[in-house]
């Protein structure tokens, strides 16, 4: 279990963390999610002892670790760019933590082989990191971190340097690994899909603060504010409120509570179809519908349609804040 209490950290003029508190339950897989500069990596590094907080405390398994060196915390840390020991074989990389603890050789060998089996790198013992792919290097780094039986596992954008398809594979794999080796894990990511897909709890961070902390569905369905709503998924603006584009209903005929709009663009993304429409005041709205619904609607570019919230879907809305939230644009194409 990790307890972070009232941690603040400044780098010169920049307030990286502002009175942050967080509890990561024993055995859970949590995420720190936020845009770059939100303080998520700094918080992770403070938990690891790689940075010292200006104020506040960090406790691991109930023990105050605030002034304890990273060496003494018994944590596993995985870096975005692997931090592989380039001059050592895979075996020596994974054995490093045990070998500095002066464990007997046979024990180390057995443990390394077992871990490489768990991460799917059996038979790679004598290779060097530069003979591995990015995904394999990161799995080696995970085995290395797990070798010392850490109390907590901290992952700093672990899949950030990998190709999209490798990333998706490794995500699944990490989730399954966590079921096999249920060590308390905290993952830093800026990818909301990654956080939603594999974690039990997400802390959404922005400008050095935690905006909301809870299970992915709770955050998605009941966002505390516009930032959380915008960061966790696509949003459209209608009638002064932020709403999910899939919670909007589009009809060819007028309807109560719906506003008139002209279709400006239709994007087909396989099963999903995005319909962009322009309201009378020039504001643009986009609606996410299934391919079947789009075909039923038979709307083409330039047609007049009616857009309103879908009462049956019971969608989530959040008032538009005075300052624009971080993500009001359409998200990038989802990774396939």
């Amino acid at each position: 279990m990790i307890n972070v209490s009232n941690v603040s950290k400044r780098f010169g003029d920049f307030q990286a963390l502002d009175d942050v508190s967080l509890v990561v339950p024993e055995g859970s897989l949590g995420a720190l999610l936020g845009p770059s500069g939100s303080g998520k990596s700094t918080l992770l590094r403070i938990i690891a002892g790689l940075e010292a907080p200006d104020t506040g405390t960090v406790a691991i398994d109930g023990q105050d670790s605030t002034g304890v060196s990273p060496q003494q915390r018994n944590i596993g840390f995985v870096f975005q760019h692997y931090a592989a020991f380039k001059h050592m074989t895979v075996r020596d990389n994974v054995a490093f933590g045990l070998s500095v603890r002066k464990r007997p050789k046979p024990e180390i060998t057995a443990r390394v082989d077992e871990l490489l089996g768990i991460v799917g790198l059996s038979g790679y013992q004598e290779r060097y990191p530069n003979q591995l792919s990015g995904g394999q290097r990161q799995r080696m780094a995970l085995a290395r971190a797990l070798a010392v039986e850490p109390r907590v596992l901290l992952l700093d954008e672990p899949f950030g340097a990998l190709d999209a398809n490798v990333r998706a594979d490794l995500r699944d794999w990490l989730r399954r690994l966590h079921e096999k080796v249920p060590v308390t894990t905290l993952l830093v990511t800026h990818d909301q899909e990654e956080a939603m897909e594999i974690t039990d709890n997400i802390a959404v961070m922005n400008a050095g603060k935690i905006e909301q902390h809870g299970p992915p569905r709770e955050l998605y369905d009941a966002p505390a504010n516009a930032f959380v709503m915008g960061f966790l998924g696509p949003v459209a603006t209608l009638d002064g409120a932020l709403v999910r584009p899939h919670d909007l209903l589009l009809t060819a005929d007028p309807r109560e509570g719906a506003v008139e709009a002209q279709v400006s663009r239709i994007v087909h993304l396989g099963f999903e179809v995005r319909i962009e429409a322009e309201l009378a005041d020039g504001e643009k709205v986009w609606v996410q519908v299934t391919r079947g619904d789009a075909e039923l609607l038979e709307a083409g570019e330039g047609d007049i349609v009616w857009i309103g919230s879908d009462a049956a879907a019971g969608g989530t809305t959040v008032p538009v804040p005075e300052a624009a939230p971080a993500t009001t644009e359409q998200p990038a194409e989802p990774a396939v």
């Binding site: 944590i75 380039k86 490093f96 933590g97 290395r144």
Partner: protein, 275 residues
């Protein structure tokens, strides 16, 4: 890869011309003079050469040169690695100043270094009285030669190691720390293997510079044959005394040491594909 890019392809005559120019430049400046020295050295016959480089004066010069170079390499390697670590990993006021200071021995003429050493350690220098009372002689003695050699060859290791440290970053060191390694273990098991080629290259350059140093050493030596004469000083003395064959022979020894050092470097050369 670049050969595949048509825009960067040079025509055949242009390539040969470039090669000819590069090799010609090297030949005129380097190979021909070196070759002539070796030729002139062995012209009188191998026995003469052997006799000339085994005189007591030559042996003493050879030993003094190796002693000074050896001490310079050991001290400057330790200092160089520490300085590089401080410069790259440290964040403190005055870091840039230290950075510039390390290059001072490159910037200052060796003869100025020699004179500065005399001003500080010589009989009339700042520490002159103190040293004389303690019975220690630095100037016109071997410690002065060692000091001068250490000074002029000081920046090489630091300058070779610093960019390597910068390039590898501190991710590996931090990973080792989270795995429980002490600072000492991190240095020897992670940092040192990562910078070893930089250190090796720095050592080779330090050795070459230390052995070849003339100006600073000449000022502080006092030219006492058999005592404070290094190989370069021996060459000069023989040359001044019209003992050309002897000067050539001693030069050849210097050239051979330089070649061996270079060869060692080539053999040690990092396999570039390793990283």
């Amino acid at each position: 890869m670049s050969a595949e890019r048509p825009g960067l392809r040079t025509s055949r005559p242009a390539r040969y011309t470039l090669r000819f120019l590069a090799l010609g430049y090297l030949a005129v400046l380097l190979l021909i003079p070196l070759g002539v020295i070796l030729y002139r050295t062995f012209e009188p016959g191998i026995g003469e050469v052997w006799a000339s480089i085994t005189t007591p004066a030559a042996q003493s010069a050879f030993q003094l040169t190796l002693l000074a170079a050896g001490i310079a390499v050991v001290l400057n390697t330790i200092f160089g690695v520490l300085t590089a670590l401080v410069l790259v990993r440290g964040r403190f006021p005055g870091r840039r100043f230290l950075d510039a200071l390390v290059d001072l021995p490159f910037a200052v003429s060796p003869i100025v270094v020699g004179i500065a050493l005399i001003l500080v350690y010589g009989q009339t220098g700042w520490f002159g009285d103190t040293l004389e009372n303690a019975g220690i002689q630095i100037i016109f003695s071997w410690p002065g030669i060692v000091l001068a050699t250490v000074f002029v060859s000081l920046p090489f290791v630091a300058r070779e190691v610093a960019p390597v440290l910068r390039e590898i970053g501190d991710d590996q060191e931090q990973a080792a720390a989270t795995l429980g390694a002490s600072r000492w273990q991190i240095f020897w098991r992670i940092t040192m293997p990562a910078i070893r080629w930089g250190v090796a290259y720095g050592v080779v350059l330090t050795t070459a510079r230390a052995i070849g140093e003339f100006g600073a050493v000449s000022v502080v030596s006092g030219h006492i044959q058999g005592e404070t004469q290094t190989l370069t000083l021996l060459v000069e003395q023989r040359f001044q005394n019209f003992d050309l064959a002897g000067a050539y022979a001693a030069s050849a020894v210097l050239a051979v040491i330089a070649l061996v050092t270079l060869l060692a470097m080539t053999l040690l050369n990092p396999r570039k594909d390793e990283t």
